[in-house]
Amino acid sequence: MGGGGGPTPAKGGKKQLDAQINLVPFIDLLSCCISFLLITAVWTQLARMDVTQKGQGAAGAVDEKPPEPTVNLTLYIDKDGYTFAKSTGESTPIPLKGDDYDYSKLADILKDAKTAYPDKNDIQVKSDDTVLYSRIIRTMDIVLSAKFPDIGLGDKGGGI
């Protein structure tokens, strides 16, 4: 870096040890960096949530070892609330809480299910036609928070 010198010492006087760094190139460099970063900045933070469709095996294991007999977990969403069902026949309804779904109770039930089946990673979410998309996404978010990463999204009527 171009270091500027201090004032010239007088003849016979003590030499000054102060040196001044030339800050102008620094400012140039930083200004260029800021301009570039501001131009290329992405302000909207978008991401994705992946789902598998019903019937493809939410675990995604088509050519792996044959599936062991295990319990299947299904979460139904309709206008009256959730219904958490197991293939063993056990079913837990989660009614609406006011006008909205009871997300905290759903989180508790899913947490219990994960404790009961720690190796289980897949779950089927089946929704009614009239359910809002934002509520499905929020439900899927809660399911992902409960450590069920393989979500299969399908129609409650059994179409997809």
Partner: protein, 196 residues
């Protein structure tokens, strides 16, 4: 115009008097300012030096902040005006894939309109396939296979749906994707900080 004052009186050379006039008093080139000069009578430079250190500090902090928010992948997804994305805390990074935008009025594939509201809200449950969307997705798939013969087809598609659409509409889009060979359906969401 009158002939008095600064304006010339002769008709022959209207600029002459003005050009040859003796200049009046002017400001000095150097004015010793009282607050700059130290002791009275001592000559001191009128230059004041700007302290650049604090400015460099500020610029450095700005650069660090912008570098933290820098995304190397760029902007893969642009949100349309009539679409409000839902928020989620659990998400994955975006990847390059065909983008299906679903609003209350229409469905577009990479910006091309493939269905309108009437088709989306039709109660006919026997056929969920959105024909135009299906056909264009098949074309995209065939193009990918032609252009990248050695690469496996991921079958990935990003659905960018408005938060207030019904699942019925999303279901039709998913069904059309599935029929076209796109099994890996992803929903675009807005990132939400955990605990927020």
């Amino acid at each position: 115009m009158s002939g008095d004052g600064i304006f010339p009186t002769t008709k022959m050379a209207p600029h002459r008097d003005r050009l040859l006039r003796k200049p009046g008093t002017r400001l000095k080139r150097y004015v010793p300012l009282a607050f700059v000069s130290g002791a009275a009578g001592s000559k001191k430079s009128g230059y004041a030096e700007l302290n650049l250190t604090s400015m460099v500090d500020m610029l450095t902090i700005l650069v660090v902040f912008l570098l933290q928010t820098f995304s190397a992948s760029g902007e893969l997804l642009t949100v349309q005006k009539n679409i409000t994305l839902p928020e989620a805390q659990n998400f994955k990074d975006l990847e390059q894939a065909p983008i299906i935008a679903v609003s209350k009025d229409s469905v577009t594939l990479d910006g091309r309109r493939v269905a309108d509201a009437d088709q989306l809200n039709a109660e006919n449950t026997s056929d969920w396939k959105i024909t135009e969307l299906h056909d264009q997705l098949v074309t995209l798939k065939n193009n990918f296979k032609l252009l990248h013969p050695s690469e496996p087809f991921a079958g990935m598609v990003i659905v960018q749906a408005d938060r207030n659409v019904d699942f019925k509409v999303v279901k039709k889009v998913m069904y059309s994707c599935s029929m076209a060979g796109y099994q890996n359906v992803n929903f675009a969401v807005q990132q939400k900080a955990k605990g927020g």
